[in-house]
Protein backbone atom coordinates (compact mmCIF):
# COMPACT_ATOMS: atom_id res chain seq x y z
CA UNK A 1 0.00 0.00 0.00
CA UNK A 2 1.48 3.29 -1.06
CA UNK A 3 2.05 6.11 1.38
CA UNK A 4 -0.11 9.12 0.74
CA UNK A 5 2.02 12.04 -0.25
CA UNK A 6 2.07 15.03 2.07
CA UNK A 7 2.88 18.09 -0.02
CA UNK A 8 3.13 20.45 2.93
CA UNK A 9 6.60 21.95 3.24
CA UNK A 10 6.56 21.51 6.99
CA UNK A 11 5.01 18.06 7.28
CA UNK A 12 5.82 14.35 7.33
CA UNK A 13 7.19 14.23 3.78
CA UNK A 14 9.50 17.10 4.62
CA UNK A 15 10.95 15.16 7.54
CA UNK A 16 11.24 12.03 5.41
CA UNK A 17 13.02 13.88 2.59
CA UNK A 18 15.56 15.32 5.03
CA UNK A 19 16.14 12.01 6.82
CA UNK A 20 16.60 10.02 3.63
CA UNK A 21 19.02 12.54 2.12
CA UNK A 22 16.69 13.53 -0.70
CA UNK A 23 16.71 17.14 0.46
CA UNK A 24 19.64 19.21 -0.81
CA UNK A 25 21.06 16.10 -2.47
CA UNK A 26 23.77 15.91 -5.10
CA UNK A 27 22.06 15.45 -8.47
CA UNK A 28 23.09 13.62 -11.60
CA UNK A 29 24.80 15.73 -14.26
CA UNK A 30 25.81 14.79 -17.76
CA UNK A 31 29.55 15.26 -18.20
CA UNK A 32 30.31 18.40 -20.18
CA UNK A 33 33.92 19.57 -20.63
CA UNK A 34 34.62 22.73 -18.65
CA UNK A 35 35.64 24.64 -21.77
CA UNK A 36 32.35 23.87 -23.53
CA UNK A 37 30.32 24.66 -20.41
CA UNK A 38 32.16 27.93 -19.91
CA UNK A 39 31.25 28.96 -23.44
CA UNK A 40 27.62 27.98 -22.95
CA UNK A 41 27.37 29.88 -19.66
CA UNK A 42 28.65 33.14 -21.14
CA UNK A 43 26.29 36.05 -20.60
CA UNK A 44 25.30 38.61 -23.17
CA UNK A 45 22.86 41.52 -23.14
CA UNK A 46 22.17 41.37 -26.87
CA UNK A 47 19.62 38.55 -27.27
CA UNK A 48 17.58 39.56 -24.22
CA UNK A 49 17.56 43.26 -25.19
CA UNK A 50 16.33 42.31 -28.68
CA UNK A 51 13.65 40.01 -27.28
CA UNK A 52 12.59 42.50 -24.61
CA UNK A 53 12.19 45.29 -27.17
CA UNK A 54 10.01 43.00 -29.31
CA UNK A 55 8.08 41.99 -26.18
CA UNK A 56 7.44 45.55 -24.96
CA UNK A 57 6.62 46.96 -28.39
CA UNK A 58 4.15 44.13 -29.03
CA UNK A 59 2.59 44.58 -25.59
CA UNK A 60 2.16 48.32 -26.11
CA UNK A 61 0.89 47.84 -29.66
CA UNK A 62 -1.72 45.26 -28.65
CA UNK A 63 -2.73 47.41 -25.65
CA UNK A 64 -3.30 50.32 -28.05
CA UNK A 65 -5.42 47.98 -30.20
CA UNK A 66 -7.52 47.01 -27.17
CA UNK A 67 -8.19 50.66 -26.33
CA UNK A 68 -8.87 51.61 -29.96
CA UNK A 69 -11.21 48.73 -30.77
CA UNK A 70 -12.88 48.52 -27.37
CA UNK A 71 -16.58 47.76 -27.77
CA UNK A 72 -16.12 45.93 -31.09
CA UNK A 73 -15.29 42.32 -31.95
CA UNK A 74 -11.98 43.53 -33.36
CA UNK A 75 -10.74 43.85 -29.81
CA UNK A 76 -10.50 40.06 -29.46
CA UNK A 77 -7.33 39.38 -31.51
CA UNK A 78 -5.60 42.21 -29.66
CA UNK A 79 -6.68 40.73 -26.33
CA UNK A 80 -5.37 37.35 -27.45
CA UNK A 81 -1.93 38.78 -28.17
CA UNK A 82 -1.85 41.12 -25.18
CA UNK A 83 -3.14 38.45 -22.82
CA UNK A 84 -0.53 35.89 -23.79
CA UNK A 85 2.32 38.40 -23.66
CA UNK A 86 1.16 39.74 -20.29
CA UNK A 87 -0.18 36.60 -18.65
CA UNK A 88 2.13 33.94 -20.11
CA UNK A 89 5.40 35.29 -21.47
CA UNK A 90 5.86 37.24 -18.25
CA UNK A 91 6.40 33.86 -16.57
CA UNK A 92 9.43 33.01 -18.68
CA UNK A 93 10.82 36.55 -18.23
CA UNK A 94 10.29 36.28 -14.47
CA UNK A 95 12.01 32.92 -14.52
CA UNK A 96 15.05 33.72 -16.63
CA UNK A 97 15.67 37.12 -15.04
CA UNK A 98 15.22 35.55 -11.60
CA UNK A 99 18.10 33.24 -12.44
CA UNK A 100 20.05 36.29 -13.59
CA UNK A 101 20.87 34.65 -16.90
CA UNK A 102 18.78 36.63 -19.39
CA UNK A 103 21.02 39.70 -19.46
CA UNK A 104 24.66 40.04 -18.56
CA UNK A 105 23.92 43.35 -16.84
CA UNK A 106 22.47 42.70 -13.42
CA UNK A 107 20.13 45.69 -13.19
CA UNK A 108 18.47 44.73 -16.47
CA UNK A 109 17.65 41.32 -15.04
CA UNK A 110 16.28 42.97 -11.92
CA UNK A 111 14.06 45.49 -13.76
CA UNK A 112 12.47 42.86 -16.01
CA UNK A 113 12.17 40.48 -13.05
CA UNK A 114 10.14 42.98 -11.03
CA UNK A 115 7.91 43.99 -13.94
CA UNK A 116 7.21 40.34 -14.80
CA UNK A 117 6.58 39.48 -11.14
CA UNK A 118 3.96 42.21 -10.99
CA UNK A 119 2.27 40.97 -14.16
CA UNK A 120 2.10 37.48 -12.65
CA UNK A 121 0.83 38.67 -9.26
CA UNK A 122 3.86 37.02 -7.70
CA UNK A 123 5.69 38.43 -4.76
CA UNK A 124 9.18 38.90 -6.26
CA UNK A 125 10.94 38.13 -2.98
CA UNK A 126 8.88 35.08 -2.03
CA UNK A 127 9.06 33.55 -5.49
CA UNK A 128 12.79 34.06 -5.85
CA UNK A 129 13.25 31.85 -2.83
CA UNK A 130 10.60 29.31 -3.77
CA UNK A 131 12.29 28.88 -7.12
CA UNK A 132 15.69 28.39 -5.50
CA UNK A 133 14.07 25.58 -3.49
CA UNK A 134 12.55 24.16 -6.69
CA UNK A 135 16.06 23.87 -8.12
CA UNK A 136 17.54 22.41 -4.94
CA UNK A 137 14.79 19.82 -4.48
CA UNK A 138 13.06 19.44 -7.82
CA UNK A 139 9.81 17.46 -7.35
CA UNK A 140 10.90 16.22 -3.94
CA UNK A 141 7.61 15.87 -2.06
CA UNK A 142 7.57 17.98 1.09
CA UNK A 143 10.40 20.20 -0.14
CA UNK A 144 9.57 21.58 -3.58
CA UNK A 145 7.23 24.58 -3.34
CA UNK A 146 6.46 24.55 -7.08
CA UNK A 147 4.92 21.15 -7.79
CA UNK A 148 2.16 22.01 -10.26
CA UNK A 149 0.23 18.72 -10.29
CA UNK A 150 0.32 16.67 -7.13
CA UNK A 151 -0.58 12.99 -6.80
CA UNK A 152 -3.16 11.68 -7.09
CA UNK A 153 -3.78 14.31 -9.76
CA UNK A 154 -6.78 16.62 -9.43
CA UNK A 155 -7.77 16.74 -13.10
CA UNK A 156 -10.46 19.39 -12.58
CA UNK A 157 -7.91 21.62 -10.91
CA UNK A 158 -5.39 20.96 -13.67
CA UNK A 159 -8.03 21.84 -16.28
CA UNK A 160 -9.03 25.03 -14.49
CA UNK A 161 -5.38 26.06 -14.38
CA UNK A 162 -5.65 26.92 -18.08
CA UNK A 163 -8.20 29.62 -17.21
CA UNK A 164 -5.95 31.19 -14.60
CA UNK A 165 -8.86 31.22 -12.12
CA UNK A 166 -7.18 29.10 -9.45
CA UNK A 167 -3.88 30.95 -9.67
CA UNK A 168 -5.71 34.28 -9.53
CA UNK A 169 -7.68 33.12 -6.50
CA UNK A 170 -4.45 32.14 -4.78
CA UNK A 171 -2.17 34.97 -5.90
CA UNK A 172 -4.24 38.03 -5.14
CA UNK A 173 -5.30 37.07 -1.58
CA UNK A 174 -1.72 35.98 -0.93
CA UNK A 175 -0.40 39.39 -1.93
CA UNK A 176 -3.02 41.12 0.25
CA UNK A 177 -2.17 38.90 3.23
CA UNK A 178 1.52 39.57 2.77
CA UNK A 179 0.88 43.30 2.37
CA UNK A 180 -0.65 43.20 5.86
CA UNK A 181 2.60 41.71 7.10
CA UNK A 182 1.60 38.04 7.44
CA UNK A 183 3.75 35.32 5.94
CA UNK A 184 2.72 31.69 6.27
CA UNK A 185 4.82 29.01 7.96
CA UNK A 186 5.46 27.42 4.56
CA UNK A 187 6.69 30.73 3.12
CA UNK A 188 8.91 31.18 6.15
CA UNK A 189 10.33 27.68 5.54
CA UNK A 190 12.12 28.85 2.38
CA UNK A 191 12.44 32.65 2.74
CA UNK A 192 15.36 33.63 4.99
CA UNK A 193 14.40 35.74 7.98
CA UNK A 194 16.42 38.71 6.74
CA UNK A 195 14.33 38.75 3.54
CA UNK A 196 10.87 38.59 5.14
CA UNK A 197 10.49 42.36 5.45
CA UNK A 198 11.39 42.80 1.77
CA UNK A 199 8.61 40.37 0.86
CA UNK A 200 6.08 42.48 2.80
CA UNK A 201 7.25 45.71 1.17
CA UNK A 202 7.04 44.18 -2.31
CA UNK A 203 3.50 42.92 -1.65
CA UNK A 204 2.48 46.42 -0.54
CA UNK A 205 3.74 47.92 -3.81
CA UNK A 206 1.83 45.38 -5.86
CA UNK A 207 -1.39 45.84 -3.92
CA UNK A 208 -1.07 49.63 -4.13
CA UNK A 209 -0.86 49.46 -7.94
CA UNK A 210 -3.90 47.18 -8.12
CA UNK A 211 -5.87 49.53 -5.85
CA UNK A 212 -4.89 52.46 -8.07
CA UNK A 213 -5.97 50.50 -11.16
CA UNK A 214 -9.37 49.71 -9.64
CA UNK A 215 -9.77 53.35 -8.64
CA UNK A 216 -8.95 54.46 -12.18
CA UNK A 217 -11.50 52.02 -13.60
CA UNK A 218 -14.15 53.45 -11.26
CA UNK A 219 -13.28 57.05 -12.08
CA UNK A 220 -13.30 56.35 -15.84
CA UNK A 221 -16.31 54.05 -15.51
CA UNK A 222 -14.46 51.68 -17.80
CA UNK A 223 -13.21 48.09 -17.68
CA UNK A 224 -10.19 48.99 -19.82
CA UNK A 225 -7.73 49.63 -16.94
CA UNK A 226 -8.54 46.20 -15.48
CA UNK A 227 -8.41 44.47 -18.85
CA UNK A 228 -4.92 45.89 -19.24
CA UNK A 229 -3.70 45.39 -15.67
CA UNK A 230 -4.64 42.36 -13.60
CA UNK A 231 -7.21 40.52 -15.69
CA UNK A 232 -4.70 39.28 -18.32
CA UNK A 233 -3.63 36.97 -15.52
CA UNK A 234 -6.93 35.23 -16.24
CA UNK A 235 -7.47 35.45 -19.98
CA UNK A 236 -3.84 35.22 -21.04
CA UNK A 237 -2.44 32.54 -18.80
CA UNK A 238 -3.34 29.51 -20.95
CA UNK A 239 -0.08 29.44 -22.90
CA UNK A 240 2.01 29.51 -19.74
CA UNK A 241 0.05 26.55 -18.37
CA UNK A 242 0.11 24.65 -21.68
CA UNK A 243 3.90 24.82 -21.86
CA UNK A 244 4.69 24.87 -18.15
CA UNK A 245 2.63 21.86 -17.10
CA UNK A 246 4.75 19.67 -19.33
CA UNK A 247 7.90 20.42 -17.37
CA UNK A 248 7.41 17.66 -14.81
CA UNK A 249 3.86 16.26 -15.05
CA UNK A 250 3.47 12.47 -14.97
CA UNK A 251 7.17 11.88 -14.35
CA UNK A 252 8.94 10.56 -11.26
CA UNK A 253 9.03 12.30 -7.90
CA UNK A 254 11.55 11.86 -5.10
CA UNK A 255 14.45 11.14 -7.45
CA UNK A 256 17.72 13.02 -7.91
CA UNK A 257 18.17 12.74 -11.66
CA UNK A 258 16.47 15.40 -13.76
CA UNK A 259 16.24 12.93 -16.63
CA UNK A 260 13.64 11.08 -14.58
CA UNK A 261 11.50 13.97 -13.37
CA UNK A 262 11.80 16.62 -16.07
CA UNK A 263 10.82 16.74 -19.73
CA UNK A 264 12.23 18.38 -22.84
CA UNK A 265 9.69 19.05 -25.58
CA UNK A 266 10.32 20.46 -29.05
CA UNK A 267 8.06 23.46 -29.67
CA UNK A 268 7.20 25.88 -32.46
CA UNK A 269 9.19 29.14 -32.69
CA UNK A 270 6.36 31.34 -31.39
CA UNK A 271 5.90 29.23 -28.27
CA UNK A 272 9.66 29.17 -27.81
CA UNK A 273 9.74 32.98 -27.94
CA UNK A 274 6.92 33.22 -25.42
CA UNK A 275 8.52 30.53 -23.26
CA UNK A 276 12.11 31.68 -23.78
CA UNK A 277 13.32 28.17 -24.67
CA UNK A 278 12.26 26.62 -21.36
CA UNK A 279 11.01 23.69 -23.42
CA UNK A 280 14.62 22.51 -23.01
CA UNK A 281 13.76 21.86 -19.43
CA UNK A 282 15.99 18.91 -18.54
CA UNK A 283 18.91 20.94 -19.82
CA UNK A 284 17.83 23.97 -17.79
CA UNK A 285 17.53 22.01 -14.55
CA UNK A 286 20.81 20.22 -15.03
CA UNK A 287 22.67 23.42 -15.88
CA UNK A 288 20.71 26.47 -14.66
CA UNK A 289 23.68 28.72 -15.41
CA UNK A 290 23.16 28.40 -19.15
CA UNK A 291 21.15 31.34 -20.57
CA UNK A 292 17.92 30.66 -22.48
CA UNK A 293 19.47 31.54 -25.82
CA UNK A 294 22.20 28.89 -25.38
CA UNK A 295 19.86 26.05 -24.39
CA UNK A 296 19.41 24.71 -27.95
CA UNK A 297 23.21 24.39 -28.21
CA UNK A 298 23.37 22.68 -24.81
CA UNK A 299 20.62 20.31 -25.94
CA UNK A 300 22.63 19.29 -28.99
CA UNK A 301 25.67 18.70 -26.80
CA UNK A 302 24.04 16.45 -24.19
CA UNK A 303 21.02 14.88 -25.86
CA UNK A 304 22.92 11.58 -26.23
CA UNK A 305 22.59 11.26 -22.44
CA UNK A 306 18.94 12.28 -22.13
CA UNK A 307 15.61 10.59 -22.88
CA UNK A 308 14.49 11.42 -26.41
CA UNK A 309 12.66 14.76 -26.39
CA UNK A 310 8.94 14.77 -27.11
CA UNK A 311 8.56 15.95 -30.71
CA UNK A 312 5.62 18.26 -29.90
CA UNK A 313 3.38 19.48 -27.08
CA UNK A 314 0.56 17.38 -28.52
CA UNK A 315 2.76 14.29 -28.37
CA UNK A 316 3.73 15.06 -24.78
CA UNK A 317 0.12 15.53 -23.63
CA UNK A 318 -0.93 12.33 -25.39
CA UNK A 319 1.85 10.54 -23.52
CA UNK A 320 0.90 12.10 -20.18
CA UNK A 321 -2.87 11.66 -20.25
CA UNK A 322 -2.99 7.88 -19.64
CA UNK A 323 -0.38 8.29 -16.90
CA UNK A 324 -2.58 10.80 -15.08
CA UNK A 325 -5.59 8.53 -15.40
CA UNK A 326 -3.63 5.65 -13.93
CA UNK A 327 -2.31 7.86 -11.09
CA UNK A 328 -5.92 8.45 -10.03
CA UNK A 329 -5.94 4.84 -8.83
CA UNK A 330 -2.24 4.21 -8.24
CA UNK A 331 -0.56 7.40 -7.20
CA UNK A 332 2.90 5.81 -7.20
CA UNK A 333 2.66 5.15 -10.92
CA UNK A 334 4.77 7.39 -13.15
CA UNK A 335 6.20 7.52 -16.63
CA UNK A 336 9.78 6.24 -16.66
CA UNK A 337 11.26 7.57 -19.85
CA UNK A 338 13.67 5.34 -21.74
CA UNK A 339 17.25 6.44 -22.19
CA UNK A 340 19.06 6.03 -25.51
CA UNK A 341 21.85 3.40 -25.64
CA UNK A 342 24.42 6.23 -25.59
CA UNK A 343 23.26 7.48 -22.17
CA UNK A 344 24.64 6.64 -18.77
CA UNK A 345 21.99 4.49 -17.07
CA UNK A 346 19.78 5.68 -14.23
CA UNK A 347 21.31 4.88 -10.88
CA UNK A 348 18.71 2.83 -9.06
CA UNK A 349 20.44 3.05 -5.70
CA UNK A 350 19.79 6.80 -5.70
CA UNK A 351 16.16 6.55 -6.69
CA UNK A 352 14.75 3.64 -4.79
CA UNK A 353 14.75 5.27 -1.39
CA UNK A 354 12.46 3.70 1.18
CA UNK A 355 10.50 6.74 2.31
CA UNK A 356 8.22 4.67 4.54
CA UNK A 357 11.05 3.74 6.89
CA UNK A 358 11.97 7.38 7.40
CA UNK A 359 8.38 8.46 7.88
CA UNK A 360 7.79 6.00 10.73
Amino acid sequence: MANKRDYSLVGESTKAAIETGLASAEWYHTDVPRKAMKELMQRSDGPAIRDTIIWIVTILGSAAGIVWFWGTWWVLPFMLVYGVLYGSSSDSRWHECGHGTAFRTRWMNDVVYHIASFMLMRNPVQWRWSHARHHTDTIIVGRDAEIAVMRPPDLLKAGLAFTGILDFRYSLPTLVRQAFGTLSDEEKSYIPEMELHKAVVAARWHVAIYVATIALAIVLRSWIPLVLIGLPRLYGTWHMVTTGLLQHIGLADNVIDHRLNTRTVYMNPISRFIYWNMNYHVEHHMFPMVPYHALPRLHELIKHDLPVANPSMWHAYREVWPVLLRQLKYEDYYLKRELPPTARPYRGEFHEVDMSAAAE
Partner: protein
Amino acid sequence: MADWVQACAVDDVEEEDVMRFDHGGRTFAIYRSPDDEFFATDGLCTHEKVHLADGLVMDDIIECPKHNGRFNYKSGQAKAAPVCVNLKTYPVRIEAGKVMIDIG
Protein backbone atom coordinates in the same frame (compact mmCIF):
# COMPACT_ATOMS: atom_id res chain seq x y z
CA MET B 1 49.14 31.25 12.11
CA ALA B 2 50.02 31.22 8.43
CA ASP B 3 49.87 27.86 6.65
CA TRP B 4 50.85 28.30 3.02
CA VAL B 5 50.08 25.41 0.69
CA GLN B 6 50.57 25.00 -3.03
CA ALA B 7 47.20 24.97 -4.76
CA CYS B 8 48.10 24.68 -8.44
CA ALA B 9 50.33 26.03 -11.17
CA VAL B 10 49.57 29.48 -12.55
CA ASP B 11 48.77 27.98 -15.96
CA ASP B 12 46.23 25.57 -14.50
CA VAL B 13 43.64 28.34 -14.28
CA GLU B 14 42.55 30.27 -17.36
CA GLU B 15 41.99 34.01 -17.18
CA GLU B 16 38.53 34.89 -15.82
CA ASP B 17 38.03 31.37 -14.57
CA VAL B 18 38.08 29.25 -11.43
CA MET B 19 39.31 25.82 -10.39
CA ARG B 20 38.72 23.55 -7.43
CA PHE B 21 41.45 22.71 -4.93
CA ASP B 22 40.98 20.11 -2.20
CA HIS B 23 43.33 19.91 0.76
CA GLY B 24 43.14 18.25 4.16
CA GLY B 25 39.45 17.44 3.85
CA ARG B 26 38.64 21.01 2.88
CA THR B 27 37.74 22.41 -0.51
CA PHE B 28 38.75 25.76 -1.95
CA ALA B 29 38.17 27.74 -5.15
CA ILE B 30 41.13 29.39 -6.89
CA TYR B 31 40.30 32.31 -9.19
CA ARG B 32 42.24 34.06 -11.91
CA SER B 33 40.78 37.49 -12.60
CA PRO B 34 40.58 39.15 -16.04
CA ASP B 35 43.55 41.35 -15.01
CA ASP B 36 45.59 38.24 -14.20
CA GLU B 37 45.46 38.34 -10.40
CA PHE B 38 44.81 35.25 -8.28
CA PHE B 39 42.34 34.90 -5.42
CA ALA B 40 41.10 32.10 -3.20
CA THR B 41 37.88 31.44 -1.30
CA ASP B 42 36.12 28.55 0.35
CA GLY B 43 35.11 26.14 -2.37
CA LEU B 44 31.47 25.67 -1.41
CA CYS B 45 28.65 28.16 -1.79
CA THR B 46 27.37 29.40 1.58
CA HIS B 47 23.78 28.80 0.43
CA GLU B 48 23.61 25.10 -0.49
CA LYS B 49 27.20 23.81 -0.34
CA VAL B 50 27.63 23.56 -4.11
CA HIS B 51 31.13 23.63 -5.60
CA LEU B 52 31.76 27.14 -6.89
CA ALA B 53 34.46 25.84 -9.24
CA ASP B 54 31.63 24.69 -11.54
CA GLY B 55 30.31 28.25 -11.68
CA LEU B 56 30.94 31.23 -13.91
CA VAL B 57 33.50 33.98 -13.30
CA MET B 58 32.49 37.40 -14.64
CA ASP B 59 34.83 40.26 -13.83
CA ASP B 60 35.16 40.05 -10.03
CA ILE B 61 32.04 37.93 -9.53
CA ILE B 62 31.68 34.18 -9.10
CA GLU B 63 28.20 32.87 -9.80
CA CYS B 64 27.12 29.63 -8.16
CA PRO B 65 26.19 26.93 -10.68
CA LYS B 66 23.11 25.72 -8.81
CA HIS B 67 21.09 28.81 -7.91
CA ASN B 68 23.02 31.63 -9.56
CA GLY B 69 23.85 33.32 -6.27
CA ARG B 70 26.75 35.74 -6.65
CA PHE B 71 29.82 36.57 -4.60
CA ASN B 72 32.63 39.02 -5.11
CA TYR B 73 35.47 36.51 -5.01
CA LYS B 74 38.01 39.22 -4.13
CA SER B 75 36.23 40.27 -0.93
CA GLY B 76 33.96 37.25 -0.39
CA GLN B 77 30.95 39.56 -0.15
CA ALA B 78 27.56 38.03 -1.00
CA LYS B 79 26.19 40.09 -3.88
CA ALA B 80 22.93 38.52 -5.04
CA ALA B 81 20.23 36.18 -3.74
CA PRO B 82 19.90 33.44 -2.86
CA VAL B 83 23.24 33.86 -1.13
CA CYS B 84 23.13 35.93 2.05
CA VAL B 85 26.27 34.81 3.92
CA ASN B 86 29.69 36.03 2.80
CA LEU B 87 32.34 33.66 1.52
CA LYS B 88 35.61 33.22 3.41
CA THR B 89 38.62 34.41 1.45
CA TYR B 90 42.29 33.38 1.78
CA PRO B 91 45.54 35.23 1.05
CA VAL B 92 47.25 34.19 -2.17
CA ARG B 93 50.80 34.63 -3.46
CA ILE B 94 52.62 33.41 -6.53
CA GLU B 95 55.96 31.62 -6.12
CA ALA B 96 57.91 30.31 -9.09
CA GLY B 97 54.80 29.83 -11.22
CA LYS B 98 52.86 28.18 -8.41
CA VAL B 99 49.72 29.54 -6.73
CA MET B 100 50.13 29.41 -2.94
CA ILE B 101 47.26 30.02 -0.53
CA ASP B 102 47.34 30.60 3.18
CA ILE B 103 44.74 28.28 4.69
CA GLY B 104 45.80 28.90 8.25
